[in-house]
């Protein structure tokens, strides 16, 4: 064993930074933050657009500014970090093995581990788009890195498949840099991203967003020459008669993010098949005691402020665990998505360990208008919140008064979309 730490945090994006800082503020001395990239901040440095930090800082920051606030705090708090360092393995005893060109392969022993590895973009290979394999096909985030960090333009005539946030943000970015974004195609009948991004990134520039459409062929030998696209039917199958062709040199993919949990699996952390991330309790602790998870490795977020809040909770509870003052299990309640709700995080709640409020995060499975989200405990309605609009692209958030749960021998909490009323 090369060294011992109280807490090892894996990943120095917004989740890892916030978790490490919060752990230090809760008097944990020996913290190590490990980052695979050459700099701190994760995806934030390439997200040069503004809109970050409305909840936490009450102002609109750009990604680099948001990251810099946390990086400065990390440095002020003298938290040790390693860059350009890849974690290879976490074993059941929380031995963390990592590799870099300075230390070689080292294994450190941790009392607690915080998983903050984030997510990856779904690539072309996961979509089965027929056609050739020319250059000019990028995931939206890769294009964002080329344009905003490396300083390379990715193309001149662009088609974007998928209306995820990064895709819409890149539509604006590439338009401002002189490219022509011909269309954004979305397989589903609704946008996969935030409304504000559709308004500010597409509508502002007159970029068409075609719902129920997908790319059916990529053409080009060396470079993309164009794509064919079709409307899809209610089973999302392309309708051949609707085929059209767009000449373009670049295709961006913004078709979803997948939590990256290779390491979690190595540590035998139980994963939720819906979120793709670990099953956690109210403390952000996974099924393995002393291993916590936060941020996009847990479930994909829309807003970095929610990542920060969640990660602070993970950092605080990891600190408690290290100090040996974490709660005993006591009554454990399962939290589940009911009708219309795909998932709820956290998936488990230890009643004795609840803070004043219990925050539940969830995504719905379809678009709903003027509907209530209903929270039930053992089938009995305890809270309902009205929403003008529910969409899978925007994470929902319900704060539950802990008194509703405390002192009861409840078995499960469910959140569902009310059944009555119009569904569109």
């Amino acid at each position: 064993m090369d060294k011992e730490y109280d807490i090892v945090v894996i990943g120095a994006g917004p989740a890892g930074l916030a978790a490490a800082i919060e752990a230090r503020k809760n008097s944990v001395e020996r913290i190590l933050l490990v980052e695979r990239a050459k700099e701190l901040g994760g995806i934030l440095p390439q997200c040069i657009h503004n809109g970050f930090g409305l909840h936490i800082f009450k102002e609109e920051l750009t990604g680099p500014e948001y990251a810099e606030r946390f990086i400065n705090e990390l440095v002020e708090l003298d938290i040790e970090y390693k860059l350009d360092t890849m974690v290879l393995d976490i074993d059941g005893s929380k031995n963390v093995t990592m590799i870099n060109t300075r230390d070689g392969i080292i294994t450190v022993k941790a009392k607690a581990v915080i998983l903050a590895m984030g997510c990856r973009e779904r690539p072309r290979g996961a979509l089965n788009i027929p056609g050739t394999r020319p250059s000019g096909i990028f995931t939206a985030g890769t294009a964002q890195r080329f344009v905003n960090i490396e300083g390379y333009m990715v193309g001149k005539k662009i088609v974007i498949l998928g209306s995820g946030d990064i895709g819409m943000i890149m539509a604006r970015r590439l338009t401002l840099e002189g490219a022509e974004v011909k269309a954004v195609l979305e397989l589903l009948p609704y946008s996969g991203g935030l409304i504000r991004n559709k308004v500010q990134c597409l509508d502002d520039f007159g970029i068409p967003l075609l719902f129920n459409h997908t790319v059916t062929e990529i053409k080009g030998a060396e470079r993309v020459e164009g794509i064919a696209y079709c409307q899809v039917d209610s089973n999302r199958k392309p309708i051949a008669e609707t085929r059209k062709y767009i000449e373009c040199d670049t295709l961006l993919l913004s078709v979803g993010l997948i939590p990256e949990n290779e390491l979690s699996k190595r540590a035998d952390v139980k994963l939720d098949p819906v979120t793709g991330g670990p099953v956690v309790n109210e403390s952000m602790e996974t099924s393995v005691k002393g291993i916590f998870a936060c941020g996009n490795v847990l479930h994909v977020h829309d807003l970095v402020d929610y990542v920060t809040e969640e990660s602070r909770r993970a950092g605080r509870n990891a600190a408690q665990y290290v100090k040996g003052v974490g709660a005993s299990d006591g009554t454990v309640i399962d939290v589940k998505g009911g009708s219309g709700v795909r998932y709820v995080v956290p998936q488990k709640v230890r009643v004795d360990n609840l803070e004043e409020k219990l925050e539940l995060f969830m995504r719905v499975d379809d678009i709903y208008k003027e509907k209530k989200l209903i929270v039930k405990i053992d089938g009995e309605k305890v809270k309902s919140v009205h929403r003008k609009r529910l969409t899978p692209g925007e994470m929902e958030h319900i704060i539950l008064d802990t008194n509703l749960v405390k002192g009861k021998e409840s078995a499960f909490i469910t959140v569902e979309v009310e059944k009555e009323g119009a569904r569109i």
């Binding site: 040069i48 609109e60 680099p64 344009v147 960090i149 490396e150 409304i195 003008k388 925007e394």
Partner: protein, 119 residues
């Protein structure tokens, strides 16, 4: 009469609002908004839409080739492309601090271009 359906972008809720000229104290009636900020945004978006411009410029002698920048206040929507043109040729040398003013009063908008990253 000026009238427009506007999706509010002040916060992530994204209220669908209708803004029209009317007899309200401000001279406009906004419906569908959930908060006063939405009302203010709706009227502004109808009469004088503005945006904060964020982009990158050339960076010399830094560890990176591009420096992220923004306008320190929102600028008229119609001036966005003019500002981009002015920024194409702008080149700064590292070190730069987040918040440093790089151009004053860009394209006559009254806004300054500031760095959003320390490099």
């Amino acid at each position: 009469m000026k009238e427009k359906e506007i999706i509010c972008i002040v916060c992530p809720i994204g209220c669908q609002m209708e803004v029209m000229e009317g007899k309200d104290t401000n001279g406009y009636v906004v419906t569908g908004n959930a908060c006063p900020r939405g009302e203010k945004y709706g009227i502004k978006e109808l009469t004088d839409p503005t945006r904060v411009l964020t982009t990158t410029i050339m960076l010399k002698k830094g560890k990176l080739k591009r420096l992220p920048v923004k306008t320190d206040i929102p600028i008229p929507k119609g001036k966005v492309l003019a500002c981009m043109k002015e920024l194409v040729s702008l080149e700064v040398e590292a070190p730069v601090k987040a918040g440093d003013i790089l151009i004053k009063d860009i394209s006559g908008t009254g806004a300054n271009i500031i760095s959003t990253r320390s490099i």
